[in-house]
């Protein structure tokens, strides 16, 4: 391995050739502030336009300051990261950026979690020279069901563009215009709603300012909670419990399931249920569908298409409806756990409790922004009444808890209500890449072979590689499984299916890098991929600690089938728990 030796702030360092000054400094424990730069290195995600110039350093013998994020180390370099010249330059650069940025931090949704604000504090900005004469760029506010674009706050770091194009291959966002008018926008400056956006929310997850935020629904939830005529039911997705603690300065990977339940009760929800229950239900429906299609395929039925694709992820559903509408028969017809929960709550549970559908409000807490759009889809409503009324993100729940003055860290541990609060370990791991297919394998194996599965942990399905594969022995039948997380990785598997090259029987796809734990509604990882790994470990830990680890052994799921649904894939189950997909290619509006 070629290495180079250099000094950074008089410290001798030796690094692999090609390493940037920024990375070398970081490895040596020297912090250089960055703004546009972002790197989740072990996930292959990097944004390095070298545009903001906050990370400049002085290199001995060079006339100009060098952007450390994109300047490779060279042998014998002498780098200074904190000279007066460097500090002044950084300050001036930031003052320029701020001269074209609104100063409404007090009421900005990103306040307190804003990298630009943090930097202004760190660099001690107290006034902005020329502020009174500087022109300020303004843009039309774009509101969509999931994402709000307030481009007045865009600093052209282009992280969103990298996520949307290079990682997700969605291509809804691009830099447009030039110079002062340059901004990131969909084609023809249309609203996101009329673009190819999938609402995966990865742009929001990486935006360093308040330019991209989620559509905030906490006030509407509050309005329902304050209405005594409404029974307000809440469901929490698996990935939320593995990340919510971070919002209250807890170590990444801390499981806060019990505290979360306690907080939701204090907020006034009438029933605190678990989306994990619906995840178990999804496995019953999706697993049965998989086996049905698999058996037909083995029997030589040419009308049955394989592989079957998971359909829990609404960003992913939007993606294939927009880009692969020709493959819309392939994904499982099973609705997502969020939607299964909503329909069961408003039929089975409402019936049990004698609550009229219109008097029940179902709120979901999701790590996801696409869920906001999903619950507004017309097919998931009955006479105009949605199965899930409102979806809020993990971040919105945290904000809600803070507003209610609840001391989250000192809350005791409480348990979910029943009957929709009990789940198996299989339901828990839905929140991480590989988890849905592992949960499906645990149940499908026993359904298919009639034998008890002794080894429940499928390490071969876990990990953070973007595309993974494994073969699972179903008592003589080799089940070929593919896994992809991140839509760019999903596209690779879909291209193979389209060209008839796919060798898989079943494929799990999650739109976000890492799966739901890295969702667009989660506490921000600020480019630290170890946070995502800690969240995944937390979910596997909760799975291990569960008494029941297979979805079909969940007693409340059994009860639901015996007293209400009949059997998996029954006519009633089909009506309530399955859906169809649409060709969304046409939604992209070319002209105004």
């Amino acid at each position: 391995m070629d290495t180079v030796k250099l000094t950074i702030d008089n410290k001798q360092v030796e690094v692999k050739a090609g390493t940037t000054i920024y990375q070398a400094a970081k490895d040596a424990g020297i912090d250089i502030p960055v703004l546009c730069y972002m790197n989740l290195h072990d996930m292959g995600i990097e944004n390095k336009p070298a545009g903001c110039r906050i990370c400049v350093v002085e290199v001995e013998g060079r006339k100009n300051l060098a952007p450390s994020c994109s300047t490779p180390c060279q042998d014998g370099m002498e780098v200074k990261t904190n000279t007066v010249r460097v500090l002044n330059a950084r300050k001036t650069v930031l003052e320029f950026i701020l001269s074209d940025h609104p100063k409404d931090c007090l009421i900005c949704p990103k306040s307190g979690d804003c990298e630009l604000q943090d930097l202004a504090i760190k660099l001690g900005i107290r006034n902005i020279p020329g502020e009174d004469i500087a022109e300020v760029s303004t843009y039309r506010l774009d509101t969509s069901p999931s994402i709000i674009r307030d481009l007045d706050k865009c600093i052209m770091c282009r992280r969103c563009e990298t996520m949307c194009n290079d990682i997700q291959t969605v291509g809804a966002l691009s830099a447009i215009n030039r110079g002062f008018r340059a901004v990131v926008a969909p084609a023809f400056e249309q609203n996101l709603e009329h673009s190819s956006c999938t609402y995966c929310g990865q742009c929001v997850a990486v935006c360093p300012t308040g330019a991209l935020t989620e559509a905030d629904h906490t006030n509407e939830v509050l309005r329902h909670l304050a209405n005594p005529a409404k029974t307000v039911v809440v469901q929490t997705a698996p990935a939320v419990r593995a990340a919510l603690g971070e919002e209250f300065s807890m170590r990444p990977g801390t499981l806060v399931t019990g505290k979360m339940v306690a907080a939701l009760r204090q907020l006034g929800f009438d029933y605190v249920f678990d989306t994990d229950f619906a995840a178990d239900l999804t496995i019953m429906e999706e697993g049965t569908e998989l086996l049905r299609r698999l058996s037909a395929h083995i029997d030589g039925d040419k009308n049955v298409k394989l592989p079957i694709l998971t359909s829990c992820c609404p960003g992913w559903v939007n993606f294939f409806e927009t880009y692969f509408p020709d493959l819309k028969d392939i994904p499982s017809s099973a609705r997502s756990p969020q939607q299964m929960f909503g329909t069961i709550a408003k039929t089975y549970f409402a019936g049990k409790k004698n609550i009229k559908r219109e008097d029940m409000v179902v709120v979901s807490v999701m790590p996801c922004l696409a869920k906001k759009y999903e619950c507004q889809r017309e097919e998931f409503s009955s006479n105009g009444n949605p199965d899930v009324d409102l979806s809020i993100s993990t971040r919105e729940l945290a904000a809600f808890i803070r507003q209610a003055n609840i001391d989250f860290r000192s809350l005791g541990e409480e348990s979910f209500d029943n009957p929709l609060g009990e789940s198996s370990g299989a339901g828990v791991i839905f929140g991480t890449t590989g988890g849905v297919i592992e949960a499906a394998v645990r149940t499908a194996y026993e359904m298919y072979t009639g034998k008890t599965l002794e080894r429940v942990d499928f390490e071969e399905l876990r990990g953070m590689e973007g595309v993974r594969e494994a073969s699972i022995d179903f008592d003589g039948l080799e089940l070929n499984i593919g896994i992809a997380h991140g839509l760019g990785n999903a596209r690779k598997l879909l291209d193979d299916i389209r060209s008839g090259k796919s060798k898989y029987h079943a494929i799990e796809i999650m739109a976000c890098p890492g799966g739901c734990i890295g969702g667009g509604g989660q506490p921000r990882h600020h480019g630290k991929s170890e946070i995502l790994k800690a969240r995944a470990s937390a979910l596997y830990l909760e799975d291990r600690n569960k008494a029941i680890r297979k979805s079909h052994e969940n007693p409340f799921i059994r009860e639901l089938y015996s007293s209400f649904l009949g059997r998996p894939n029954s006519g009633k189950a089909h009506n309530l728990l399955h859906t169809g997909y649409f060709d969304k290619k046409k939604k992209i509006i070319v002209k105004q």
Binding site: A172, S174, I176, R178
Partner: protein, 160 residues
């Protein structure tokens, strides 16, 4: 953003695909494809960009980004009489800006726009190589030298 709505005819779509194919449908050739299409259609309306997007498999947003980045590309059709005012150094110091302002006022359009009746469009350019005549205005292929703001009305009258 252009508000002009057009319906591409079948042969227009085929022409765009042909141009894209002549560059091997290679996304790296986007700018060349855009040049050729603009040469053919006179401008690059949204509908043309959409066909290019499909042919080259480049996201529409990226194409729009390129079209809006380079000032040569336009999404607005040129008027029957394209008016160009030279803003090169010689013309500029001899008052081209005032001439431009007068054209804007008379035509009630900005640079890069076309009048509602489609008769005039306005653009600025850099040096036509006739610095001795500064400030220079071109209408179509015809060159006007030593133009003063007071001449603008008379120039436009020639085309009405």
């Amino acid at each position: 953003m252009s508000s002009i709505k057009i319906e591409l005819r079948k042969q227009d779509i085929e022409k765009i695909r042909e141009i894209a194919a002549s560059f091997g449908n290679d996304e790296q050739e986007l700018i060349n494809v855009l040049h050729k299409c603009q040469e053919h259609f006179g401008y690059l309306p949204a509908e043309v960009q959409e066909v290019i997007s499909e042919a080259l498999q480049v996201p529409l947003a990226k194409i729009y980004g390129v079209v809006t980045f380079y000032s040569f590309f336009t999404m607005t059709p040129k008027g029957q009489n394209p008016v160009s005012i030279c803003m090169g150094t010689a013309c500029y110091v001899r008052g081209a800006e005032k001439v431009l302002e007068e054209f804007k006022k008379e035509l009630e359009i900005e640079v890069g726009q076309t009048t509602d009746d489609g008769r005039f469009s306005l653009s600025s350019l850099r040096c036509v190589g006739a610095c001795g005549l500064a400030p220079v205005v071109m209408v179509g292929d015809k060159t006007y030298g030593r133009v003063a703001p007071d001449d603008v009305k008379d120039i436009l009258k020639e085309y009405s």
